[in-house]
Amino acid sequence: MKIITDILNLYKERFSFFLELLIQHMMLTLISVSIITVIGLSTGILMTRNEGFAKVVLMVTNFMYTIPSIALFGVLVIITGIGNKSAIIALVIYGLLPVIRNTYVGINEVDNQIIESAIGMGSTNIQLLLRVQLPLALPVIFAGFRTMVIMTIALCAIASFIGAGGLGVAIWRGITTNFPEMTLAGSLLVALLAIITDFILEIVEKHMKKRIWGSVK
């Protein structure tokens, strides 16, 4: 029980310190998530237009996913130095896979009959994409997005190992100065941030499925 009160006291004493780390963490996540969404969506869409490209992209992203995050951070330090830049690059590389894959799969899985009738009625390629394929694939794409956001929040905690900001700073400081309350205080906030974000995204996802598919599958 003592540790809990210790952590709570820590939050009280170092409130502005934790608040700053939390904001940094959210900013890093937000920037990464935005970049991932733009690159992931457009790559996923391009993949549905070109099977060969799709195969190559899936191979590359699958491969990158197998690299341990610590190793990737290490390599990036050599190339892009320490700090937020390297952290964001690493977060983007990890986050791309679920978004790319779900965009690709989501669009490809839209019922062929619906696509055919939309083409038969005279939709242009862009209209087909924007008015039929993307809206119908949206719940699947969003599921990938949700996975990616939570993953990025968690992974972002490791990013401070290479000098980036965020709640990882507290965790890292706790480990190096043998101050377990500090480590736990940082970890708890990361977990809390992830849980609350996931909860909000879950509500959005349910709402979306209901509107587009008519049921929460």
Binding site: Q113, I115, E116, S117, A118, G122, T124, Q127
Partner: protein
């Protein structure tokens, strides 16, 4: 020259397999042409070449005197109504937006007439309460009616229908057949209707095309195909079913009623016929 003209049309895949083999066919404005044949005879392929969903290998198709090759694909498709078996209603749009899909993708935004959807939904026999509903809330037969309404929105001259009533139950199908016939009489559209149902083909078509292995086996009216078959194949294909479809329904009803009222027996009628 007919309104829709197939001129030695061939569709082949990988060189030698001919799905459509030298089809020449002339369709006049306002005709209701049913295309019938066993599965794999190429009837759907033939239909999809009209709105360029499937490219033609050899020969030409002319619509209103102009080769489909020269028609701009998108505007050609927008000017042709298209109904398929699985309907293909857009599940994320309500019925009104589904009916208005073609005007909504066309450039002229002013083209969306608020009363049009209401008018059409009533034409296909549903009340306008349905306009705000979603496709998933409708039965198969109702969705197919919406499919027909949607094909009519842009007021096309030509409507292509690919086994549109294949997936609905028999009662709904009979009703839909009756209604499409009425709509055709009222609006005088040129309809190309693919089906594998012999009775449906005979009942609906003002001209019936029987396909076999990508070739036209016989073209003609119901009477010609049933009573003047050009080959053993045609005779066997239509057979007794074709004969049944060409019987006068009113007369048959009378006979049936007389038997029900015990004014006659079935044996008695057979004896008279012999």
């Amino acid at each position: 020259m007919g309104f829709i003209e197939f001129n030695h049309v061939v569709k082949s895949y990988s060189g030698d397999v001919k799905v459509i083999d030298d089809i020449t066919l002339s369709i006049e404005r306002g005709e209701f042409v049913t295309i019938v044949g066993p599965s794999g005879c190429g009837k759907t392929t033939l239909l999809k070449m009209v709105n360029k969903l499937i490219p033609i290998s050899q020969g030409n198709i002319y619509i209103d005197g102009k080769d489909v090759i020269d028609w701009e694909t998108i505007s050609l498709r927008r000017s042709i109504g298209y109904v398929i078996q699985h309907i293909g209603l857009l599940p994320h749009l309500n019925i009104e937006d589904n009916i208005n899909y073609v005007p909504s993708i066309s450039k002229r935004k002013s083209g969306i007439d608020k009363n049009r959807a209401k008018e059409l939904i009533e034409l296909v026999g549903l009340s306008d309460d349905y306009l705000s509903r979603y496709p998933r809330q409708l039965s198969g037969g109702q969705m197919q009616r919406i499919g027909v309404a949607r094909a009519l929105t842009a007021d096309p001259e030509i409507i292509l229908m690919d086994e549109p009533f294949g997936a609905v139950d028999e009662i709904a199908r009979t009703q839909l057949q009756h209604e499409i016939k009425e709509i055709h009489k009222k609006l005088k559209k040129t309809i190309l209707f693919v089906t594998h149902d012999i009775q449906e083909a005979l009942k609906l078509g003002t001209k019936i095309v029987l396909l076999k292995n990508g070739k036209i086996e016989q073209i003609g009216t119901q009477e010609e195909l049933v009573f003047k078959p050009k080959s053993e194949y045609v005779k066997a294909f239509f057979g007794l079913k074709g004969f049944q479809a060409s019987l006068n329904e009113n007369v048959m009803h009378n006979v049936y009623n007389r038997i029900l009222l015990k004014q006659e027996t079935l044996d008695g009628i057979y004896r008279k016929l012999e």
